[in-house]
């Protein structure tokens, strides 16, 4: 049985990663650097991301059956592959921590006067642990199921304030200089790089000929909505955007329509909660999968427990609050490191692909020796396999008892 995700599910997971972190605290962080030109900074960041998405789709097309770990291992060795995966793990882990802090902020400011910290954290940890035990296919299906609601919530969040916004507030463009716009992109680079999820999904996608098209369609639509959100944010709040650290809720407060459509506003809030929970689950699931691949854990509970402990230490013990987390993330050295990492990974993937061109076909030995993940079994056909066995070896294989792999293939 295959557990691959479809092209559209891959696109939707990429959309979910794109939405995360961009709608709550970071609009005000952007405004702190770029002022009214926040939308321009986001446009530049997303354009760069889009180019890397194209690169990644080419890499995926060339290596439909290889995971990122396998690709890098073959090209550069196991150590490099493990190090890169650990870096990916740290990236997604820290991203997940930021999303958890944003959720706490959202609960504290939108839903509750003051929510008890333990009452919030314990159920959330349980939910995160549960989500980490699932796989990307479950996530893909869930996101696919909720996508119409998510799309409606996004449109509602953007169009309702837009109806009363004064779009001339974004003029004049670059009033405080172009330098500030690029500075904003540099300092907020952590919220870009959403395509890095594709590294985790490598080898787990049913890469049909129209899969890239579906992924690109999802990406273009999501990027457009994000840019529109920032344009509306700048139009509504202008220079005072730095004060609105909960952009999503504050934008909806601005319009008078909300007072007359109270129920719809609450439905919107509930849908945003679903989006936030899915985001946090996806981040930690990605972290868990990268950790599993890096250290080759056989038991999926081990990375789950490890991540929960790390999460406990960073959020509960160290009491890493949102402001402190944002300060770390927007510091110059951290931003430069993140950009270097975001650029390096696709480039390494391209180099690895070019290096292995013609050499990356899967061998039957690798299939039977389980050195290739079992997700790929159904796509192995004789034509895309190299024959490396001699007749003697085949006879030996025939005389052996059926292995576990064969049993699973038969059962499938």
């Amino acid at each position: 049985m295959t557990k691959k995700i479809t092209g559209i599910q891959c696109g939707l997971l990429l959309c979910l990663t794109t939405i995360s972190l961009k709608f709550l605290a970071f609009p005000s962080v952007f405004a702190n650097y770029a002022g009214k030109d926040v939308y321009f900074s986001v446009l530049i960041g997303l354009m760069l991301d889009f180019s890397f998405v194209l690169i990644m789709l080419w890499v995926l097309k060339q290596n439909p059956h290889l995971t990122f770990f396998e690709l890098i291992k073959r090209a550069f060795g196991k150590v490099v592959a493990s190090v890169l995966l650990v870096c990916l793990f740290l990236y997604f882990f820290f991203r997940g921590v930021l999303v958890v802090k944003e959720i706490h902020n959202y609960f504290n400011e939108t839903l509750f006067e003051n929510i008890e910290w333990l009452m919030f954290v314990i159920p959330l940890f349980a939910l995160i642990a549960f989500m980490m035990l699932k796989d990307f296919r479950t996530f893909g299906r869930t996101v696919q199921f909720f996508m119409p609601l998510i799309a409606l919530a996004l449109l509602f969040t953007i169009l309702v304030p837009a109806s009363e916004a004064d779009f001339s507030n974004i003029l004049p463009v670059f009033e405080y200089g172009v330098k500030n716009t690029f500075n904003a992109v540099l300092r907020c680079s952590f919220i870009f790089g959403d395509y890095l999820i594709l590294f985790v999904l490598m080898g787990k996608i049913k890469f049909t000929p129209d899969a890239p098209k579906k992924v690109l369609t999802c990406v273009v639509i999501t990027y457009t909505l994000v840019i529109l959100f920032y344009i509306v944010f700048a139009s509504v709040f202008g220079d005072v955007g730095i004060n609105h650290s909960l952009a999503l809720s504050d934008l909806l407060l601005y319009t008078s329509i909300i007072t007359e459509t109270g129920t719809i506003n609450w439905i919107n809030i509930i849908i945003w909660l679903i989006i936030l929970f899915l985001e946090v689950g996806l981040m930690f699931l990605s972290a868990s999968k990268t950790l599993t691949e890096a250290f080759n854990f056989k038991n999926r509970y081990i990375p789950t427990v490890l991540i929960c402990v790390l999460l406990f230490i960073s959020i509960v013990y160290l009491y890493l609050n949102l402001i402190r987390a944002i300060e770390i993330v927007t510091s110059l050295w951290f931003s430069i490191s993140v950009i270097a990492f975001q650029v390096m990974l696709p480039i390494l993937s391209v180099i690895a692909t070019l290096k292995l061109r013609g050499k990356n076909k899967v061998t039957l030995r690798q299939v039977y020796n389980q050195s290739v993940v079992k997700y790929q079994l159904t796509n192995i056909v004789p034509s895309n396999c190299k024959t490396v066995f001699s007749n003697k070896k085949i006879k030996q294989v025939k005389n052996k008892k059926p292995s576990k792999i064969n049993k699973e293939v038969q059962n499938a």
Binding site: E113, N169, V240
Partner: protein
């Protein structure tokens, strides 16, 4: 055991979470015992410091059907502190509950807070996570406490939502939202100018024998009322708690608000006069956090004509002599209004043009002699002498407003914003030619294209 847990993971997890959290939640008091729902806040500056008055809803368990703010369940509480934060802390002690601002829909400011910089008194509200609504800001003619206490004594929704009084402001007066976000946006804009509504407290003309504990018995400041004529009971709405009639034309009418009372039979002079909150369509211009001018009467009419959003209004002309009217005062209703503006530079100087199209309908004609021809409804009265007088009246009110704005350097038209956005380089060049860049308004030429038509 492990197998059981593995098979029923979800149920076990749910039970664990429930068992773990139940002791925490079961002993907690209800939120309504800890938090007070604050519906409006008033800020005054006294000798002791900053006095904050809040209206809180006191749930009445004897009433079925709930609904806050009905039948005297709104209570006013005041406390003084060195600043707004400490005043709120003292209110916590007085109330015995934390004041929750999530449902606060209005912030009423005393006029004397604008003597220095009103932003220092609003800073608390812009920073607190507590205030999740976009509260409306109003300026009290007298004291904010009086307004808040009067609101508490109102029946129906008006006690809870004081900002209801501004419901039609965007159509009749000021034409700008006066909530806290908008105020900050305008204050930090290049023009640094914003406008806020001015509200007063006055007598409704009826006495109320059953006065609630929260009603202020302070002496009414009669200066506010002397400037307008009292027109008690002029705007009763039938069975609705939203009765508001605010008009831009303040020279003749008093825009009084009144809420319907269950006990309509006011006691025959036994009780004290009932106080009501009045929105007389007045506004104040605030620049850099200080009030620079008050807009009333003709200036407010001019502002209505120039604003893009107002759709209603009246123009009154006097001493009209035509075949139909003899020495008559005619009041025209603005049936339809379309305003646009544009700016350009002519010889390096900014020129701002207003283009106003008005469709007017004769609403009332008062004259001492009666003429049956004046009753014709199929005649277009906007012609000849009437049209000339209408032009003059409209131009006068607009000129008055422009002169007031120029005298106080108050850019109520957002000239700076407009030229900065759409003619940025020319505007910057123009500003560089000025000795005092803040004085730009005096160098702007205003032109007006006014078209009047009558509606039959």
């Amino acid at each position: 055991m492990l197998k059981f847990i593995k098979r029923h993971r979800l149920v076990v997890t749910f039970l664990c979470v429930a068992i773990l959290l139940t002791p925490f939640s079961i002993s907690k008091p209800a939120e309504s015992d800890r938090m007070a729902v604050v519906t409006s806040v008033g800020i005054d500056k006294t000798e002791q410091g900053i006095e904050v008055s809040v209206n809180t809803i006191v749930p009445n368990s004897g009433q079925a059907g709930g609904g806050g703010g009905t039948d005297g369940t709104v209570k006013t509480v005041s406390a003084t502190g060195t600043n707004v934060s400490t005043a709120f802390a003292n209110i916590t002690l007085v109330l015995g509950k934390f004041p929750g601002l999530a449902h606060c829909d209005s912030i009423i400011l005393n006029k004397n807070l604008f003597e220095e910089n009103v932003l220092e008194y609003l800073d608390f509200f812009i920073r607190t996570n507590n205030l999740t609504s976009n509260a409306a800001i109003m300026v009290a003619q007298n004291t904010a406490k009086e307004v808040v206490e009067t609101a508490a004594s109102q029946k129906g929704l008006r006690a809870v939502s004081v900002s209801e009084i501004l419901l039609l402001n965007t159509e009749y007066a000021l034409s700008k939202a006066s909530n806290i976000d908008e105020f900050y946006l305008n204050t930090f804009s290049p023009s640094k100018t914003s406008m806020l509504p001015l509200i007063t407290v006055g007598d409704s003309g009826k006495s109320n024998p059953d006065v609630d504990g929260g009603v202020a018995q302070t002496a009414l400041n009669t200066n506010a009322d002397k400037s307008v004529q009292s027109d008690s009971g002029s705007s009763q709405s039938s069975g609705s708690s939203k009765s508001l009639k605010s008009g831009a034309n303040n020279s003749a009418k008093n825009n009084s608000t009144s809420t319907p009372q269950k006990a309509e039979e006011s006691g025959s002079g036994n009780g004290s006069p009932e106080k009501i909150i009045k929105n007389e369509g007045k506004g104040v211009i605030v620049k850099n956090g200080k009030i620079v001018a008050t807009i009333i009467g003709d200036e407010m009419n001019g502002l209505n004509l120039l604003s893009l959003d107002t759709k209603r209004g009246h123009i009154q002309i006097k001493n009209v002599n035509t075949p139909e009217f003899s020495n008559a005062n005619l009041t025209f209703e603005i049936f339809n209004k379309k305003t646009s503006y544009s700016g350009k530079f002519v010889n390096g100087k900014p020129v701002f043009d207003f283009d106003i199209d008005l469709v007017l309908k004769l609403e009332e004609a008062t004259q001492k002699t009666s003429n049956i021809k004046a009753l014709t409804t199929t005649k277009n009265y906007v012609e000849g002498v009437v049209k000339t007088k209408l032009y003059q009246t409209a131009e006068n009110s607009i000129s008055k407003l422009i002169n007031t704005a120029k005298a106080n350097n108050a850019d109520v038209f957002e000239i700076y914003d407009y030229f900065n956005k759409f003619h940025n380089s020319e505007w910057k060049q123009f500003l560089n030619t000025l000795e005092n860049k803040d004085d730009y308004l005096n160098y702007v030429t205003f032109t007006l294209s006014l078209k009047l038509q009558g509606k039959i």
